[in-house]
Symmetry: C2
Subunit: 148 residues, 2 copies
DNA sequence: CGGTATCCTATAAGATACTG
DNA sequence: CAGTATCTTATAGGATACCG
């Protein structure tokens, strides 16, 4: 995760994977996307060990996707929390797309454990490939240019 | 990638990561998304070693994202190719979302090496979080339900 | 509660050499 | 061209114990 081992890949996908590409990081980002904020909840809900949870959360903070802060519920003592930064919010399409593919194509024992719906509207939330002009872009209409 | 090591995670995100969650698999899916079809091109363009390229391509075929076939260019001998299946095409939002986050937030030495544009329209291709009713869904409007 | 320290195993991934 | 075989190293990640 820190430095790529092989040939240096000058690609935004590879760069993203170098920062947040491990299973543990992505599971933690999933949890953050679902609203989890506290250390113990991250560990239990991802099934990660505490040392791994601590290490990856620290990396995600370093990488700017999460921010750590103190907070105090009324009448309680001070606790820690991890919240999505704006960069972390920008990561939600990745998590949404992974969830969507899993729902459609992976065999999740016991059926679908998660739903994400649009507030008010009630329709399911998905990741769509579009152009910035707003058109849906099917694969055949995507033109790839390799620069350099 | 084969069997999850820790607590069994009943989640579509985790299930997806168990099938295609390694850096090498995701780089190969990136290449497939960019139109790469031949073994040697996959290896060179991802920077992966040949043994790793062979192993992961075989896994992606097993997982149903790629299909292997013979093909023959006019006047050439028979060659192999790997093509996206419909399940593989459904994976494109993941790759698009990873690329998009990298373009916005990762430091790719030498600038942006890749563009994906909408044919004809010319506008850039991105992954958007929407509901199936067609509304854009900002994070604040996503309602998460954990079932079971 | 929110971690850290230490040690261990499994796997990801590369290097090199070789084959049909 | 499209791989396979073998070996090695680096990293992911868990288990257990402990700390402020």
């Amino acid at each position: 995760m820190d430095a790529p081992t092989g040939v240096r890949e000058h690609c935004p996908v590879a760069a993203t994977l170098d920062l947040v590409g491990s299973r543990s990081s992505l599971l933690l980002m999933r949890e953050a996307a679902l609203g989890t904020r506290r250390f113990a909840d991250f560990a239990v809900r991802t099934g990660l060990s505490e040392p791994m949870t601590a290490r990856r959360l620290a990396e995600l903070v370093d990488a700017g996707l999460l921010a750590r802060a103190d907070y105090r519920e009324p009448g309680q003592r001070v606790r820690q929390e991890y919240r999505l930064t704006s960069s972390g919010v920008d990561f939600l399409p990745v998590i949404t797309a992974l969830r969507q593919w899993g729902d459609a194509h992976a065999d999740v024992p016991g059926g679908r454990p998660l739903r994400v719906d649009h507030a008010g509207c009630g329709a399911e939330v998905v990741a769509e490939v579009r152009c910035t002009a707003g058109h849906a872009v099917p694969p055949a209409e995507a033109v790839v240019t390799r620069l350099r």
